[in-house]
Structures are given as C-alpha cells and as structure tokens.
C-alpha cells in the first residue's frame, strides 16, 4: 500500500505521525501534572505502551536481522569514521592556520645604511599594521652570533670588517587576509630592501585544507550512498521476513505509521550505533597518535599538541556523527519501507 506513496509524502507522514505522537504525549503529561482524573492517566499509559511496543518491535526486528545488522552497522561505522577523520583534519588544519595567522609577521629588511627607526612612523601609519618593532643590525648580529655558537666565532666581526647585516622592521598585520597586499605596499617604501612573510606555508596549508575537504566530501557522498543501499537492503530483507505479520497488521487495523515506524527506528538505531562506534574509534586513534608523538622529538611533540581536539570539539564531533548516522539510517529504512511494505 505504501509503494504508491511518493518518497516525500512518506517522509512527511513519518515526521507528522511522530510530531502528533509527541504532542499528544506532552499534552497528556501536562494534564496529569495538573492533577486531572484517571482518563488522562490512561491516555498517558497508552502513550507509554505505544512507545514500549515500538521499542519492542524495533528490538524484535534487530533480533531477526542477525548478522545483517552488522553489515549495516559496519558500513555506517566506516562511513562515519572516515567522515570524522575528514572533519577532524579540517578542524586541525584550520586551528593550525589560525595559530600561525596570529603570529604572522612581515619581516621588512632595509637597504644598507638606512635606519629602521626613521621608517618606523611611516610603516606604523598603515591601517593594516597592528604593531611595528625595530630590530637594529646590532641586535640582529648578536642574535646571529648566539645562534651560530657565540664566542668561538666572535672574531668574525673583525674578519668581515664590521657588522654586514641590515636593519629590520618586524611588522605585525591586523589580519591574515591583508598580509600579501601589505607586504607589497611595504616593499614600495623608499629605503626598503626586501620583504618576507609566510605566504608560501599559508597557501600550502590552505590548499591542503581545501583538498581534504573536497576529497572528504566526495568520499562521504559515495559512502553515504553505499550505507543507504546496505541499510535499505537489510531493512527490506527484515520486512520481507515479517511480511506475514505486516499483512495481518494491515488487516487488523494497524495504521501505516504504526507498521513502519519500528523499521524506521531500526534504521536510526543502525546509524546511532555506527556513529557511537566511529566516535570511540576516532577518540582511540587520536589518543594513540598523541601517545606516539609524545615519544618523538620536540618538533613532532609540538605537532601533536596542535592535533589535539578541544573537549567541546569532541562533543560536537559525536553529535555530528550521531546526526549524520541517524539521518542516513532513516533515509535507508524509508527507501526500504517504500519499496517493500
């Protein structure tokens, strides 16, 4: 009888039935709290019985499914695990970009003989500039000597007949978006020799982030279609196994939503189980990776710190996985019910 129903109408019927059921349950509950007499209490009992029946029938369906359930759940788990990895990577790259962006500086090297202090006010007047710091050539030379080993090559100054470095301005821009434009403008100031910033690294990271997102999207779409097909087939087989029951239910006056709601819930159950397993898997993988990086040199440890998800992000990830899983489960079972019941 549902095979003639278009998909959107079936979806509408399901959601409308659920909505009506909740509204009636809430109304019964509120009336009960206000101390209404027995009939409403009975109505509330009726709702609880209906919920109990739906859950029992859903459980029965899952029992009948046997190993088929695992086919559906494992497909959803793989899908959601990959979706989670994609999402997590995207968040981590985004975080890395933000951290780099907040430290982003433009190094402005002046021409030999030009004093950095003389150019500082002109540079500070640019609206995109947040801060300007002068690094004299003496400071730079001292830093260089320190990095190169200090006293051992102290004679180098004499050998080179003085400090060969130029003065430098460390410019911090207000936002990452204006860095290339600001760098170009700074380069045009008279007395500026060259300008350097982390443009290349940022572009690579942005490209990587976009690439991960695009590949992730394609993978998620393909796997979603696969998961819907597997769930739909599983539910359909369970529906076929219970065809006689469904026929009798129709003959004894069970409404359409009453018959197919347990199957829809079953599909949602697949999604929620898959989502939970995928989330546990992701958390375990992250923890293992962090442990592994913790035993590595400092640079990799630093990378590990950047890869760690915030607690709020972990919760958000779980909610997203459960949401996507239940949606896919619901769509899969709706397809099956529309075809089979």
């Amino acid at each position: 009888m549902f095979s003639r129903l278009p998909f959107h109408k079936l979806w509408f019927k399901t959601t409308a039935s659920l909505q009506l059921w909740w509204q009636r349950s809430a109304r019964s509950f509120l009336s009960l709290k206000r101390g209404q007499p027995d009939p409403l209490n009975r109505q509330l009992n009726l709702r609880w019985n209906q919920l109990e029946y739906l859950l029992q029938e859903t459980g029965l369906g899952l029992c009948r499914g046997g190993w088929l359930n695992w086919a559906a759940i494992s497909t959803v788990t793989v899908l959601l695990f990959l979706f989670g990895i994609g999402l997590q990577s995207s968040w981590q790259i985004e975080g890395l970009l933000q951290r780099m962006g907040s430290q982003l500086e433009i190094s402005v090297y002046l021409q030999p003989g030009v004093q950095a202090a003389s150019l500082q006010p002109a540079v500070a007047r640019f609206p995109q500039v947040a801060r300007v710091e002068v690094i004299s050539k003496e400071q730079a030379w001292q830093e260089l000597l320190k990095e190169m080993g200090g006293a051992e090559i102290a004679g180098l100054t004499a050998g080179l007949e003085g400090n060969p470095l130029v003065e430098e301005l460390q410019v911090t821009s207000r936002s990452t978006a204006v860095v290339p434009e600001l760098a170009q403008q700074l380069n045009q100031i008279q007395g500026v020799g060259s300008v350097q910033y982390l443009d290349q690294a940022l572009q690579s990271l942005n490209q990587l982030s976009r690439g991960v997102q695009q590949i992730g999207f394609v993978v998620v779409v393909l796997l979603s279609a696969t998961a819907i097909a597997v769930i739909s087939t599983t539910i359909r087989l369970i529906v076929l196994a219970r065809q006689q029951e469904i026929e009798i239910m129709q003959l004894v006056g069970a409404t359409a939503s009453w018959i197919y709601l347990p199957f829809i819930l079953q599909g949602v159950g697949f999604g929620l189980t898959g989502g939970t397993i995928a989330w546990v898997g992701l958390m375990f993988t992250e923890k293992s990776l962090l442990n592994l990086l913790g035993q590595q040199p400092d640079l990799l440890q630093l990378l590990g710190d950047n890869l760690q998800l915030q607690p709020l992000q972990s919760v958000l990830l779980l909610l997203l996985l459960l949401g996507l899983g239940s949606t896919i489960g619901c769509v899969g079972s709706l397809v099956a019910v529309r075809r089979s019941v």
Binding site: N49, E52, Q250, G253, T255
Partner: protein, 237 residues
C-alpha cells in the same frame, strides 16, 4: 433483508449497492445489491471462483469495486484510504481459512497482537485476553505455539484474535475449509454463540452439510449473481 421479528428497527450494517467487480475481464460480481442488518448471521456459498472471497474483501477494503459502492456502518469503504481504512478495520473481526497465525508467537500473543498493533495498553489487553481464549476453549493452550496445536485449535485461536477487539462484524472466509466434521461443528458453534451475543456474522463456505445443520439464511453466488437460497427460519421472516 427484512428485520428480525423481535427487533423491527435494526439498522443495516453492510450494504452493497450495484457492486460489480471483475478480474481479467471476467465478472466475479455483477451488479450486486445486498443488505446485512445488525445481528444477522449469513452463510455465503457458491462454487469456487464465484466471488465469495471477493465479497468479503470488498467489505474489509482489500479490494475495491469497479462499479457501485460498499457501505459498512454507513461508511463507504471504497472511499477510505490509509489510516481511515485502518480505523474501520478495527471494528471488524476477520477469520481466514489458513488461520494466518504468526508461527513465532504464542496463542496468547497472536490473539493480543490485534490490540498491540492498535497501541492498546497491556493491562487492557490482559483484561480482554482471558474471556476471548475461554470462549474458544483455548485458555489452557495460551502459551503454546501454533504448530503445537491441531487445525481446529488453530482456527479457534484465529477466532479469538478476531473477537478480542470486540468487533461489530465478524467475517469468516472458509473458516472450516481445512477442518474435519467435529472441528467444523465446534467452530460453527462458537460463531453461533458470538452471533447470539450480538455480533453480526458473515461466513463463506462450500460445506453444504454445515449450512444444513443450521437455520441461518444463505446467499448463493454463481457467475457473479446473487440468489437468496434460504431466508432462514431464525433471523429472517
């Protein structure tokens, strides 16, 4: 049909108004006009393929007429769809020749299934279950599975399922078709008791002996036409 002598104002429960139904261009029912009143008991008989089951299916909305209309409790069944049809079916009890019991559920669960499928609370189901099983004599076999029962017992279980929701109309499609004489008589006795309790009963059957054993009126179907074969001494003047 004419009213019972003892209750002249009985309203009609089922009405066929100029109903025709054909399968593959062959008439199963042709321009049928019928009226069944509340409290009636009718046998519907005729050769195989004469439209007995079609007549039943038209009443519970599993088939729709090509022409005409079927009314149950004044509601035109062929206009009902989806949930409205489901609500009408809740007021009917249906018994099938092949029992249609769920093999993985006990007799009590099978009988209760109708109420469960309608969302009735468990306490209410328990309250109705015992009298229904007592009436068909299966209270001791409530927890047995259908394959542990004889054909007659299975049919009685299906009657319990049909009456548990207190229907106004009981439709029994060849209820004794798979049963021996004794079991058939037992089933008929139960149906007669239900009718005496006020339930309108329609029974399709091939079994002339079964029909002869009672005084109930008979509708004879042949080549899509209806003939009232016996108006019966008990319910019809």
């Amino acid at each position: 049909m004419e009213p019972k002598p003892d209750s002249p104002h009985r309203s009609s429960l089922v009405q066929f108004r100029g109903v025709s139904k054909s399968y593959a261009q062959q008439f199963s029912l042709r321009d049928i006009n019928l009226q069944v009143k509340r409290g009636d008991f009718w046998f519907i008989t005729g050769p195989s393929g004469s439209g007995k089951s079609t007549l039943m299916k038209l009443i519970y909305g599993a088939e729709r007429p090509d022409h005409g209309s079927v009314l149950v409790e004044g509601i035109e069944v062929n206009q009902l769809r989806g949930d409205r049809l489901a609500y009408l079916r809740r007021r009917l009890g249906i018994v099938f020749q092949d029992y249609k019991l769920l093999s993985r559920r006990t007799i009590a669960e099978n009988a209760a299934f109708v109420l469960r499928a309608q969302g009735i609370p468990r306490a209410e189901i328990d309250r109705r279950l015992t009298p229904a099983l007592k009436l068909v004599g299966l209270i001791d076999k409530a927890h047995a599975f259908p394959d542990q029962l004889s054909g007659g017992e299975q049919q009685r279980a299906s009657i319990a399922r049909a009456i548990i929701a207190s229907p106004t109309l009981l439709l029994a499609d060849e209820p004794t078709g798979n049963l021996d004489r004794d079991n058939a008589q037992q089933v008929l006795k139960i149906l007669t008791q239900l009718n005496a309790a006020g339930i309108t009963v329609l029974v399709t059957t091939h079994d002339r002996q079964l029909i002869q054993s009672t005084q109930f009126p008979v509708i004879h179907l042949n080549q899509g036409q209806v003939r009232i074969e016996r108006t019966g001494g008990k319910h019809v003047q």
